[in-house]
C-alpha cells in the first residue's frame, strides 16, 4: 500500500509530501481549536475526492518521530487490494455507548472484515461499553484499534469526523476488508501502582464517588497538592487508577480521569469503575514510560509486522503521558521508532483513551495511560 503524509498549517494550507496521489482512506489528527472551522476540510476533500476522510481532535499529534501541537496532520493511504468502508453514528450521552457500538458493528460486519479502526468522541462515550457493543456483530478475531478523541488539557469538547468537518458527539469506524490486510498491535504503560489498596465504596458506571468511604476527589487533591489540584481533571491524569475485581486480582485495568465534579466530589473516568472493586493509585516517571512505549513497539514487532515504507504505524498515546513527560514526551516516540524502524510512516495522537486488541483474547479493549500501536500493511 502507498502512504502519503499530509500537513496543514494556517496560512499554508495542505502540504502533501508526494504531491497528492489518490487514496482510499485519509486519517487526520489535529488541535481541536484549529479543526472547528475553516477551509481545511473542503480543501482536503478536493484533494482526495474518492477517499474516506476520517479524523479526530487530539491533545498533541505524532507525525514521524515528532510531536506537534498545532495544525492538522494526517496520512493518505492507498491500499493495493484491501477494501475500505467507513460508518459514523452520533452519540449524545454515555448511556448510548454500547448501542453505538452495536450499530457500527452491525453496519461494518461482513465475512471478509479483517479489522476496524475506531475513533470516538472522548467525553460523551464510555469506551469500554462502546467496544463491547461491537461484539454483538463482530467476532473477536476482528482486530479493533483506535482511540478516543481529545481536547488537549481543556477537556471541553472533542471532535470526530467522517467525510465532513469533525463534530462533537460523533463515533467513526473504518472497516478494512479482504485477506491481504495485515495488522499487528502492541500496548504498554509503564506506570507503577503505589500505596494502599482501596475499595471502590461508591460509584455509578464510570463515575467514581468514594474510595474507602472517602470522596475520591479529596484523595486526589491531597496527592496533587494545592497547585496541581487546581488543574484537575488534567492533573489527575498524573495519578491514574489501577482497578481490579477482588475475586480476580490478576486481571486489572488502568483508568484515566476524564472529568470531575467539585460539588458532587465525583470523578468521571474513561471506563467503568465497578463498585466493590479494588483501586490503587499509580504514578509514573519519564524513564519507565519510555520503556513502556518501547515494550509496546516490541509487541508490534513480534506480530505480523513489515518494517518497510508501505507500512503505516498508528500510535495512540495517552494525554496523561504527555502531561507527565512534558518536553521529554518525544522520547517515547523516538523509543517506538527505534524499535519499529525509520521506514514505516508514523502517525498518531494523544488521546483520552486508547483502543487495541487484548493480548491474550484478541478482543478489542479500551486502554488508558498507554502507548498503543497498530501497524497496518498489506501482504506482498
Amino acid at each position: 500500500m502507498q502512504i502519503e503524509k499530509l500537513t496543514w498549517k494556517e496560512g499554508s494550507g495542505w502540504q502533501c509530501d508526494q504531491g497528492g496521489k489518490s487514496a482510499a482512506l485519509i486519517l487526520y489528527f489535529g488541535n481541536r481549536l484549529d479543526m472547528e472551522s475553516g477551509t481545511w476540510f473542503p480543501e482536503l476533500q478536493t484533494l482526495f475526492p474518492d477517499a474516506q476522510i476520517v479524523g479526530c481532535s487530539s491533545a498533541s499529534q505524532i507525525i514521524g518521530d515528532e510531536i506537534i501541537e498545532d495544525g492538522i496532520n494526517g496520512v493518505a493511504i492507498n491500499f493495493n487490494k484491501t477494501k475500505v468502508r467507513a460508518e459514523a453514528v452520533s452519540v449524545s450521552n454515555v448511556d448510548q455507548s454500547r448501542m453505538c457500538g452495536e450499530e457500527l458493528g452491525g453496519r461494518l460486519a461482513a465475512p471478509d472484515l479483517a479489522g476496524i479502526l475506531l475513533f470516538s468522541d472522548g467525553l460523551l462515550v464510555n469506551g469500554s461499553e462502546l467496544i463491547n457493543g461491537f461484539s454483538a456483530h463482530v467476532p473477536d478475531s476482528v482486530s479493533i484499534s483506535g482511540g478516543l478523541a481529545a481536547d488537549g488539557a481543556l477537556f471541553d469538547q472533542t471532535l470526530v469526523g467522517l467525510n465532513q468537518l469533525p463534530v462533537s458527539g460523533q463515533i467513526v469506524a473504518v472497516g478494512l476488508y479482504g485477506p491481504d490486510v495485515r495488522l499487528s498491535t502492541g500496548s504498554a504503560g509503564g506506570w507503577s501502582e503505589f500505596g494502599p489498596k482501596r475499595k471502590i465504596s461508591r460509584s455509578d458506571g464510570n463515575v467514581l464517588f468514594e474510595l474507602d468511604d472517602e470522596p475520591a476527589l479529596d484523595l486526589y487533591e491531597r496527592y496533587l497538592g494545592e497547585e496541581d489540584a487546581k488543574e484537575l481533571p488534567s492533573s489527575g491524569l498524573l495519578f491514574p487508577l489501577r482497578i481490579f475485581d477482588p475475586e480476580q486480582p490478576e486481571h486489572h485495568v488502568v483508568r484515566t480521569i476524564l472529568a470531575i465534579d467539585r460539588e458532587a466530589r465525583s470523578m468521571t473516568f474513561a471506563g467503568d469503575m465497578p463498585q466493590g472493586w479494588v483501586a490503587q493509585l499509580m504514578r509514573g516517571n519519564v524513564d519507565r514510560l519510555v520503556i513502556g512505549a518501547a515494550e509496546a513497539a516490541q509487541q508490534v514487532c513480534a506480530g505480523d509486522y513489515n518494517q518497510n515504507d508501505e507500512t503505516l504505524v498508528l500510535m495512540v498515546s495517552c494525554i496523561g503521558r504527555r502531561l507527565l513527560m512534558g518536553q521529554r514526551t518525544v522520547d517515547e516516540v523516538e523509543a517506538v521508532t527505534a524499535e519499529l524502524g525509520a521506514n514505516p510512516a508514523q502517525i498518531g495522537f494523544y488521546s483520552y483513551g486508547e483502543i487495541s486488541p487484548q493480548r491474550v483474547s484478541g478482543r478489542g479493549r479500551l486502554h488508558n495511560q498507554t502507548m498503543t500501536i497498530t501497524a497496518i500493511s498489506e501482504a506482498a
Binding site: G195, P196, R222, Y223, G225, R283, Q327, R328
Partner: protein
C-alpha cells in the same frame, strides 16, 4: 549534549540556522520547572503514601489487637502471659475473675510476684508454705520447660495451671477451673473406698489397712480385729422391708463408729457384717471392753421410721500379734471367733482360740468326708429301741446316723449333723436315712415303728414329700409305721411352707413327734400349730430329775398335757431304774435310753426287735 537540550537547541534554531537564545532559555527553564514539579510530586506522593501505610498498619494492628482481645476474653479458661522480666504482657477476663484481680494489677507491666502475692494476701490461695512455693515456682519458670500445677483455693476451688515457656524467655499460662472434675474424682475415689449406705470404709479399704498395720507391727504394739455380724437381721428385712433394714444398718454403723471413736477404724463388709481394726490397745481386756460397749449400744432399740427395732450382734475378736499378724490369718481367726459367738448363743463376743482353728480344720475334713461317705456308702444307721411302758415291749426304734470316717474315726452325729446342715448335704443324707430305715423296718413286727430324724433343712424346697413317698414305696412300709422326728427349730423359719409339708406328709399317714420338747422358747405354741402324735421330753429333764421336785413337776405336767392331747409322751435318755420309776409314776408311757439298749447296728437290731416286740416281752420293774 543531553538529548533534550539537543532538541531544545534544534527547536530554537530557525530555518536559517539562527539560534534563538531566548527561546532556548525558555525551553530549558520549562524543562527545569517540569523536573522540579515531578520531583515535588514524587516526594509528596511518597510521603503521603508512607503516612497512609503507617496509619493503615496502626489500624490493622489495633484491629488485630481487638480481635486478639475478643478471642482471649471469650475463652473459658484464664490466660496470662509474662515476659522474661516477669512482667505481665496480657491477661484475659477469665483469669481476672478466677483470682479476683483488681484492675490495678492487670495492667501490662505488672510484676508477676505482685499478682501472686495478691492471691495469697486476699486469702484466696493457701498461705501454707508460701515462701517455699514461690522459690519452687521460680525454679520451674527459670528452667524454661513446660509444667503443670494445681492450686487449691480456700473457697474450695481447684485450678489447674498449664505453664508454657515462650521463645523470648517469657511464658504463657492457662488456668482451668477443675473444681467440679476434682470433686468428681474425689467422690469417685471416696466411693471406691467407702460403703455407699453407711459411709464407712469398705471391705477392700479395710483389708488395705490391715496390710498397712502388718507393716507397722512391732513386738510391743497390740491391736485387734473384730468381726461383727448382726443377729437375725434377715427377719428385719423380711418383716419391715429393705428400707427399714437399710436404715437399721445405717444407725448401727453410726452407733459403732461413734462408740469406737478414734480407737479404731470401722468398716462395713457387706450385708450385715462389719469389721473393726482397733489400735493401739493395752491388751485383750481393753478389746473385750470395747466389744461389750458395742454390744450394749446395738442392743438398745433402734428407732427408725416410727418403729423400734430390737437387734443384737455377735463379735469375734482376733488379737494381734497373738492370733496372727497377716490380714488373711486375722480375718480368718476373727471369723472363727465370730462363728463361736454365734454358736454359743449370739449377742456376745468371743476371742479366737487356737482350737477354733483346729475345729475349723476338722470341720472342713468332715465336710469333705461326708460327701465321700455318701458316695462310698460309709454312712450307717443304728437303731435305738423305744419301749412302751404300757405293753412292756419295743414300740419303736429311732434311726441314728453313724459315720466311721477313715481319717477321723467315729464322728459323733452331734458334730457332723450340723456340718451337714450347713453345707446342705443333709438333704441327701436324710433321704438315704429314710430309705434305709424304712427298708430295715419292713422286717420288723407290725407293731414296731421306725422313727427317723428330719432336719429343718430337709423341709426347704419340695423334695421331702417325694423322698418320704419313695422310701415307703420302695420298702413297702406302711406310712403309719414311719415316725418323723422334728424339732422346734423347724418353726423358726418359713413356718407356713413347713406346715404345708407337714400336713402333706401327714396326709400320707406318716406320724410326727416333736423332739427335744421343753428346750425351746415356745414349745407349747408349736403343739397348737400341728397335731403331733408324740412329744419327746428332752433328756436334759430326765437327767436332772433325781431329787428335783421342780423337774419332776415339769415332767409330770408335760406327760399330763401330752396325754390330754392324745399324744404319746416319750422320755429320752433313761439310764437308771430310778429315772424309770419316776417316769412311770408320772404316767409316762414310752421311754428310750441306755437303761434298755444303746443304739444297735443294722445287723443286730432286727434280732433284738423280734425278741422284744411282743407284749410283755420286756420285764420292766413296776
Amino acid at each position: 549534549m543531553h538529548r533534550l537540550l539537543a532538541r531544545q537547541v534544534k527547536s530554537a534554531t530557525s530555518d536559517q540556522g539562527d539560534l534563538e537564545i531566548e527561546q532556548l532559555l525558555n525551553a530549558v527553564s520549562i524543562a527545569y520547572d517540569e523536573s522540579d514539579r515531578e520531583r515535588q510530586r514524587t516526594d509528596r506522593s511518597v510521603t503521603l503514601m508512607i503516612e497512609e501505610v503507617d496509619q493503615l498498619n496502626a489500624e490493622l494492628l489495633a484491629s488485630q489487637e481487638r480481635r486478639f482481645e475478643a478471642a482471649i476474653n471469650n475463652m473459658a479458661h484464664g490466660l496470662s502471659m509474662f515476659d522474661s522480666e516477669y512482667r505481665l504482657v496480657v491477661c484475659n477476663d477469665a483469669y481476672i475473675r478466677l483470682y479476683d484481680m483488681p484492675e490495678a494489677l492487670t495492667q501490662p507491666g505488672t510484676s508477676f510476684w505482685d499478682m501472686q502475692d495478691h492471691g495469697a494476701s486476699e486469702g484466696m490461695v493457701s498461705n501454707k508454705n508460701r515462701e517455699e512455693h514461690k522459690r519452687s515456682l521460680e525454679r520451674e519458670i527459670n528452667a524454661g520447660k513446660p509444667f503443670k500445677e494445681s492450686v487449691s483455693m480456700v473457697n474450695g476451688a481447684v485450678i489447674r495451671i498449664n505453664h508454657q515457656p515462650l521463645a523470648d524467655g517469657g511464658w504463657l499460662t492457662t488456668h482451668e477451673d477443675v473444681t467440679e472434675q476434682h470433686r468428681s474424682e474425689v467422690l469417685v475415689r471416696y466411693l471406691a473406698r467407702h460403703d455407699n449406705l453407711t459411709g464407712l470404709i469398705n471391705r477392700s479399704t479395710f483389708l488395705e489397712l490391715l496390710v498397712e498395720n502388718e507393716d507397722d507391727q512391732d513386738a510391743d504394739k497390740i491391736t485387734a480385729v473384730m468381726c461383727i455380724d448382726l443377729d437375725h437381721f434377715k427377719p428385719v428385712n423380711d418383716s419391715f422391708g429393705h428400707a427399714v433394714g437399710d436404715a437399721v444398718l445405717q444407725k448401727v454403723a453410726e452407733l459403732v463408729r461413734v462408740q469406737v471413736g478414734d480407737r479404731g477404724e470401722v468398716s462395713r463388709f457387706g450385708g450385715d457384717e462389719f469389721a473393726i481394726l482397733l489400735e493401739p490397745l493395752s491388751g485383750a481386756e481393753e478389746a473385750a471392753g470395747i466389744a461389750g460397749e458395742i454390744l450394749a449400744v446395738i442392743n438398745k432399740p433402734i428407732r427408725t421410721d416410727g418403729l423400734d427395732v430390737n437387734i443384737s450382734a455377735s463379735i469375734g475378736i482376733a488379737m494381734v500379734p497373738r492370733d496372727g499378724s497377716d490380714s488373711e490369718t486375722l480375718m480368718r481367726n476373727g471369723d472363727l471367733a465370730l462363728h463361736r459367738a454365734k454358736s454359743d448363743g449370739r449377742n456376745r463376743f468371743c476371742f479366737f482360740e487356737r482350737e477354733m482353728d483346729e475345729l475349723q480344720r476338722r470341720r472342713r475334713v468332715i465336710e469333705k468326708g461326708l460327701v465321700s461317705a455318701l458316695a462310698d456308702g460309709n454312712l450307717e444307721l443304728s437303731f435305738q429301741p423305744l419301749v412302751s411302758l404300757k405293753d412292756n415291749c419295743i414300740s419303736c426304734c429311732e434311726a441314728l446316723m453313724r459315720w466311721d470316717s477313715p481319717p477321723l474315726g467315729l464322728v459323733s452325729p452331734v458334730e457332723f449333723i450340723p456340718v451337714a446342715e450347713e453345707t446342705g448335704i443333709i438333704k441327701q443324707m436324710g433321704a438315704w436315712a429314710l430309705r434305709t430305715a424304712c427298708k430295715q423296718a419292713i422286717d420288723w413286727p407290725e407293731n414296731v415303728r421306725v422313727a427317723v430324724n428330719v432336719s429343718p433343712m430337709q423341709f426347704k424346697g419340695d423334695e421331702l414329700i417325694g423322698q418320704v413317698k419313695s422310701a415307703l414305696e420302695l420298702s413297702g412300709l406302711d406310712a403309719g409305721r414311719l415316725e418323723l422326728e422334728i424339732t422346734e427349730s423347724l418353726f423358726l423359719d418359713d413356718d407356713a411352707h413347713n406346715l404345708e409339708v407337714l400336713h402333706a406328709l401327714r396326709d400320707l399317714g406318716v406320724r410326727f413327734s416333736l423332739d427335744d420338747f421343753g428346750t425351746g422358747y415356745s414349745s407349747l405354741s408349736y403343739l397348737r400349730m400341728f397335731p403331733f402324735d408324740k412329744i419327746k421330753i428332752d433328756r436334759s429333764f430326765i437327767s436332772n430329775m433325781t431329787g428335783r421336785c421342780d423337774t419332776i413337776a415339769i415332767v409330770k405336767a408335760i406327760v399330763e398335757m401330752g396325754t390330754g392331747l392324745g399324744m404319746t409322751v416319750t422320755s429320752e435318755g433313761i439310764e437308771t431304774e430310778e429315772q424309770l420309776n419316776i417316769l412311770k409314776s408320772q404316767g409316762c408311757t414310752e421311754v428310750q435310753g441306755y437303761l434298755f439298749s444303746p443304739p444297735l447296728p443294722q445287723a443286730v437290731i432286727n434280732d433284738f426287735v423280734s425278741k422284744n416286740s411282743a407284749k410283755d416281752a420286756l420285764r420292766i420293774a413296776s
